[in-house]
Symmetry: C2
Subunit: 295 residues, 2 copies
């Protein structure tokens, strides 16, 4: 780990520290290299964001430094020869409620404003986190991006007026790429068992764990899926789409309305561009990994 | 897939078929090769096994051929030039109740006895499945193997008297290797956030997904874990053991009683010999895979 930290410091990367331990590690790397490391402090806020798929701030957390402790850490940093540029607050991910995201961003700017008075220099970096969700199920409504944008526009003016040198940052992984990926798998068998239709595909949870409902979902819900070569046909059959692994966990679609599908048809699952293949146990049960194709 | 089936048939492997489709595929491979394929029929029983971690029989299932349909499939097989040796019934996995396992095995033998009259030849193969569980949590009591053995002893006598040529088979993956594997990961940070102690380790859910509670568990429970270099010390601290990934899912121990641990200490998690590394998303978030060592 020490080698990676030295590389980051040598490259002039802003290292976000999440504890006093990390601060001292970065400071040591700077001392060894004869450089002033650039750091930001990830803050565990004193507020929580409701409605996130994953809550990552508020209360006791493994992430960040508790807001009330940050002034002490900044004092320590001043004596360690590191340059603290600013703060990072990431309150939660996969949120579809624009007003909650907007409120979290406003509270983040307020908290950063409070904390910035403890910086020895100017605030130059403010990372507002991400949390922009994408719809995964029929019940999900897409995020109202205009509402988020209007709020952000106002906030950037506030930031600029208070901190002329600050660079605001947001991080949108899933929101940018999540909807760009589709997973295609082929039906290898069609079975009817006691009145239920099963479409067995040549892929499964080892390729798309989240689509099987086994990646942090408290309640399993189907990802959007279609029969790719029958999109114009009426969805007048209900089927279970199951993977080829020998576990009942390997369920890609539970009781899904689909056009009657058969062997060689293609099942297409959407929203697989983030937390898809890389978040899946590709070695599970020794089946081959899928091909990944950039179109 | 056709190539794999041909290889299996050419090698004289007993291919367990789970549908008419699979039967015809195996028969075609035999025809192409000029061989009589050896097959067994996986049966979806007309009973369910309670108390299994995973139920895999009874009701509508993706696994096997419904018991009531098996006679028709056997008739079809007779005309297809395949040799049906017997049956496979796997009702569920990870069961810790010896009496339920014993009952499932008795019912399996009864069902196979009913189905065997539809075989053109002698019954030569009876796969009773597995399901022998191992304890994962403090509440779990180890399986009473003597009780299972006594029942199996009686059943083998029954099988031998009814079907002199039958080879009884049980499949015990997890039961044999599950307790043989341990996962060792090192503490890289110790943090206290709002009264809770977090031990951050250099591994996590990308190495041991099941231990994080994200592999089919409806309710997350801690796997047994210790501080490997402090096993003789009193467990008088409560800590959360968290992995190094940036997701709150990466939780290896929730509120665990441990000796006070610090950076460089080793966290050891037990029961990792099955559904461990291979069932984990090792590419998730780009962290290194662990070393696997045979001791």
């Amino acid at each position: 780990m020490a080698a990676e930290i030295r590389q980051a410091v040598a490259a002039g990367i802003i290292v976000e520290i999440e504890s006093m331990t990390e601060l001292t590690r970065v400071a040591s790397a700077g001392e060894e290299l004869g450089l002033i490391p650039q750091v930001a402090v990830r803050v565990n806020p004193d507020f929580a964001v409701k409605g996130s798929g994953m809550r990552m701030g508020g209360g006791p957390q493994q992430f960040g430094i508790d807001a009330e402790v940050v002034p002490d850490v900044l004092s320590a940093a001043a004596g360690l020869g590191v340059d603290v540029l600013g703060f990072h607050i990431f309150a939660g991910s996969q949120n579809l409620n624009a007003e909650i995201i907007a409120e979290a961003q406003r509270r983040t700017v307020d908290l950063v404003t409070e904390l910035a008075v403890h910086l020895p220099g100017e605030l130059r970096y403010i990372n507002l986190g991400g949390g922009f969700g994408i719809p995964y199920t029929e019940k999900d409504q897409p995020l109202d991006l205009d509402a988020v944008a209007a709020n952000l526009h106002d906030l950037v003016e506030v930031i600029t007026s208070r901190f002329p040198q600050a660079k605001p940052v947001i991080e949108l992984g899933r929101y940018i790429v999540g909807e760009c990926g589709v997973y295609v798998t082929q039906v290898v068998d069609r079975k009817i068992s006691r009145g239920r239709t099963f479409l067995v595909v040549d892929g499964g949870m080892h390729h798309q764990l989240a689509a099987s409902g086994n990646f942090g979902q408290a309640i399993r819900r189907n990802y959007p899926l279609v029969v790719g070569n029958r999109v114009d046909e009426a969805a007048d059959e209900s089927a279970n789409v199951v993977g080829c692994l020998c576990t009942p966990l390997d369920l890609l679609g539970d009781d899904v309305a689909l056009p009657p599908a058969d062997i060689d048809d293609l099942i297409v699952i959407f929203q697989q561009g983030a937390y898809g293949l890389t978040a899946s146990p590709t070695a599970f049960l020794g089946h081959p990994a899928p091909a990944e194709v950039l179109v």
